[in-house]
């Protein structure tokens, strides 16, 4: 039986930071388990940077200002005690990353350079050229190697074993061999990232961002907090959803529809393309809905035109963007406009964390950090540069929290964990032997389509009801799915099958949360309730799963310093 004091699930920024901190106690046996090789984790895709009020570029900046900006950005749904803890501790984390060898870009004084970012009142985003997440991820991996963290690469978490609200262990598959193993652990940190893949191709997220850890916690009785808040980025490449940086609009890119018209004048006559992310995303979708986009259905798009900037400026300011458009959309921005469409980018909601200093969940022994968790510091809308910050900072405290849990908790019951593993073994066998059924790909595509059309950037009760019915139907179809691969070894068809199940489980929670939040706040825009409603909805959604039933509850928002006010920029 595999036995560890602490198991960290996920090797992105949050997971590796947690593993690093848990492993600082040499008496503890720590493993970091990841379904992909650690440096493939999605943290590596973050380009822009990581927020911390170092005050290097602007001496008037302070953690207090960072605190205020974050609360305002969240549309007042963030828990202010947690945000204050976050912003106060961020500068120390940046120095720590520097000490771990992260190659930060530098200012003329040799200090870490900082750049301005959306929603921030001072330039406080630390960065490394346009590969910030990549270098942080690699540096953390190096530190974990140095600390002898035991990595279980290409191991897939299948489920958590919780009985009577007590954590016993988990079940995971060694993908390379196909063996399914029970694990005993005293504490676990779930750090499995976001689940933007509920929209399948219409996301900036990596192919494997399927919310497995979130679903495992949800299935184990831990509620999901605020799942309805989904961030959309206006400029994803049309055919793949890959992100084109906000710098395109910053440098003066135009958005045009099929009639060749700069349509932003209809929605934001003054700010035009420089209006905030959510507004621009909504405008693009309105054009498409009005039939002024190109293409049909999920394939529809508008154009971003940069030609008027001229070759020189494009080469100087946007070389990476040009390369992305060329490599992934086959378009050279110098000669042609590029097809774009908003793309799901980030999940504000996630596993309910009840203590932001230890990242504990309501089930003792289970901690959660990173995009899969909801602390909540992002509330209804996350500011750019605050996620990688969230990931490393709360990853650290989750590592410390899990270390403490492991010190005081005994191992759980072997029999329970073995029983759960047997269940998965027989499920794996059944799926491998099945020769017919509903194609998984069809279930997946249908889910993405209905989520995008009805629970995307615009939401309306009637449409969301249709989405809910469809998701329920798909959950039913899922029972009859077949995977088409009988092999044990590296069976990605089976892995994909479990992932789609997790996505469906979470998609349903997103719809339910959204239907029941009868207001518009942050990323959640309801056509039928266009106003923010503090009287009724200044509160977190909590969704519990009891068997197949989903139960909604609410939790007050912690307001310490900044009373809600209208959000104007």
């Amino acid at each position: 039986m595999l036995k560890y004091d602490v198991i960290v699930v996920g090797a992105g920024g949050a997971g590796m930071m947690a593993a690093l901190y848990a492993s600082k106690d040499k008496n503890l046996r720590v493993a970091c388990l990841s379904k992909i090789f650690p440096t493939r984790s999605h943290t590596g895709a973050a380009q822009g940077g990581i927020n911390a009020a170092m005050g290097y570029r602007d001496a008037t900046d302070s953690p207090e200002k960072h605190f205020r900006d974050t609360v305002k950005g969240s549309d007042f749904l963030a828990d202010q005690d947690a945000v204050e803890f976050f912003t106060a501790n961020m500068p120390a984390i940046i120095s720590e990353l520097d000490y771990y060898g992260v190659p930060f870009s530098r200012d003329p004084n040799g200090r870490i350079a900082q750049r301005p970012f959306g929603g921030a009142s001072s330039p406080r985003t630390c960065y490394s050229a346009d590969k910030t997440g990549h270098v942080i991820l690699h540096a953390l991996y190096e530190q974990c190697l140095k600390n002898n963290v035991e990595f279980l690469d290409e191991w897939f978490l299948l489920s958590l074993v919780v009985a009577d609200e007590t954590f016993h262990g988990l079940v995971a598959m060694n993908i390379k061999t196909g063996e399914i193993h029970p694990f005993l652990a005293k504490a676990v940190v779930i750090a499995t990232g976001g689940f933007g893949r509920i929209y399948w191709n219409r996301t900036t997220n990596a192919i494997n961002m399927t919310g497995d850890g979130t679903a495992a916690c949800f299935n184990a009785g831990i509620p999901l907090k605020d799942p309805e808040f989904v961030q959309f980025h206006p400029t994803g490449l049309a055919s793949t959803g890959i992100l084109l940086s906000e710098a395109c609009r910053g440098e003066g890119g135009y958005l045009i529809n099929r009639e060749g018209e700069r349509f932003m004048k209809r929605y934001a006559p003054e700010k035009m393309e420089l209006a905030p992310r959510d507004l621009v995303s909504r405008s693009i979708e309105m054009e498409i809905k009005a039939g002024r986009g190109f293409g049909q259905g999920l394939e529809a798009y508008v154009l971003m035109d940069l030609r008027h900037l001229g070759k020189e400026k494009i080469m100087e300011r946007l070389p990476q963007v040009r390369e992305l458009a060329m490599d992934f959309e086959g378009v050279d921005l110098i000669d042609e406009p590029v097809p774009i469409r908003p793309s799901c980018h980030y999940m504000m909601g996630g596993i309910h964390v009840s203590d932001y200093t230890t990242l504990a969940t309501p089930v003792e022994g289970i901690h959660a950090a990173g995009e899969c968790a909801c602390v909540s510091i992002h509330g209804a809308n996350r500011l750019g540069g605050n996620s990688v910050a969230d990931v490393v900072l709360f990853g650290k405290y989750a590592g410390i929290g899990a270390r403490e849990s492991a010190r005081k908790r005994p191992f759980g019951l072997e029999t329970l964990v073995i029983k759960e593993a047997k269940k998965w073994e027989s499920k794996f066998a059944t799926m491998r032997n099945k020769t017919s059924g509903i194609r998984l790909v069809d279930i997946r595509n249908k889910m993405a389509e209905v989520m995008w059309n009805y629970v995307g950037i615009f939401r309306h009760e009637q449409e969301m009801r249709v989405a809910l019915e469809t998701i329920d139907q798909l959950l039913n179809d899922y029972e009859h799915a077949y995977i088409g691969d009988p092999a044990l070894r590296y069976n990605t068809a089976f892995v994909h099958y479990v992932e789609i199940g997790n996505l469906l489980t979470l998609a349903k929670a997103v719809v339910l949360g959204a239907i029941n939040r009868k207001e518009s706040r942050g990323s959640h825009a309801r056509a039928d309730y266009p106003q923010r409603d503090d009287e009724n909805f200044l509160k977190h959604t909590l969704i519990y799963k009891r068997g197949d039933r989903y139960e909604l509850k609410y939790l007050p928002v912690k307001i310490t310093k900044y009373p809600p006010e209208e959000r104007k920029y």
Binding site: Y99, G101, A487
Partner: protein, 318 residues
């Protein structure tokens, strides 16, 4: 062209076979698009790895018609044009253990990487509380080497690894050593450099495959040259590598090119060569890396080369 034929080398842990798939041609698609389409629509048993889809995670390296590419970044149009064919042959990256189909195993590589201490050995100028000061110029030194996404393409293409029996380090490992060796925040460059030297640093055959195929354009051979220079400064002039450099010097002077046939003899001496190098040379020949029948002739313009030598020698005398 109406269809593209994909011949994919399959492996299930026991058997190896080649399977053929056909997709209708579509303009502007990538290798990863094709693999994904085959898995989604034709054959769910086909396995490969990918994650980010935009050239930053390093998971999608694969060999097509004998050359390694990043699947998500490489367009099919480019391949069809380069190879002037509508038949593409897919294999997993070379110099890796294969797990299944196009999936390779990274674990052994990371175990190997630990040799060079792939982490910052922080100098006393910094602290965990305050971090470091580092100038823009110092940052510039590590900027390109920290672009490495660990995709493994350089290792797949490396001429030395193809014939080596496991001692030589993968170019990306050498890159990692370089990255810390030149970081102003690192206190002990030698601790990263020495293991590279001890692991056959001088065996790089300058085939340049790593540099020309690296999707991040990391100047790996320049880094190797730097590390060699550093080891010589560290007092390692009498080792095999330094002798190799010397032989290199003479060959180029004489022929204007490297004589791969005689270089080992000059480096190791006749007896050692016969004992150790002949099997090595044999493997090189089998893999088509050298042609024993082609004896070196002085290149055109050898006079110019010799003139450069003369000038350098004179300059270094004065």
């Amino acid at each position: 062209m109406e269809n593209i034929t994909f011949r994919i080398r399959r492996y299930d842990g026991t058997n190896t076979w080649v399977q053929e798939y056909r997709l209708p041609y579509e303009k502007g698609k990538t290798i990863l698009w094709a693999l994904t389409k085959i898995k989604d629509e034709i054959d769910p048993t086909l396995n490969f790895t990918s994650a980010c889809r935009h050239a930053i995670c390093g998971s999608c390296g694969v060999k097509v018609n004998g050359h390694a590419f990043l699947a998500c970044k490489t367009s099919l149009d480019k391949l069809l044009e380069t190879f002037d064919t509508s038949v593409l042959y897919f294999e997993p990256l070379g110099n890796y253990d294969v797990v299944r189909d196009l999936v390779v195993d990274w674990k052994p590589k990371m175990e190997k990487m630990k040799k060079i201490k792939p982490w910052l050995l922080p100098s006393r100028e910094g602290s965990i509380e305050e971090g470091f000061r580092q100038s823009k110029q110092q940052f510039a030194k590590i900027s390109s080497s920290t672009d490495c996404i660990l995709c493994g393409i350089c290792a797949s293409e490396c001429g030395q690894l193809a014939i080596n029996d496991g001692g030589y380090l993968e170019p990306f490992i050498i890159n990692k050593a370089y990255r810390f060796a030149v970081d102003s925040r690192d206190n002990a460059p030698e601790e990263h450099i020495r293991p590279v030297l001890e692991n056959e640093l001088w065996k790089c055959i300058h085939c340049m495959q790593c540099v020309s195929k690296c999707p991040k354009e990391i100047p790996l051979t320049d880094e190797i040259a730097y590390l060699r220079k550093e080891t010589m400064k560290m007092g390692e002039v009498h080792n095999q590598g330094a002798r190799h450099a010397y032989a290199f010097y003479h060959d180029v002077k004489k022929w204007g090119r490297l004589n791969e046939m005689t270089l080992p003899i000059k480096t190791d001496g006749m007896v050692t060569t016969l004992r150790k190098r002949i099997p090595f040379a044999y493997r090189m020949i089998v893999k088509g890396k050298i042609n024993p029948l082609r004896l070196p002739k002085a290149v055109k313009g050898i006079k110019g080369v010799r003139k450069i030598y003369q000038q350098v020698e004179e300059e270094s005398k004065s």
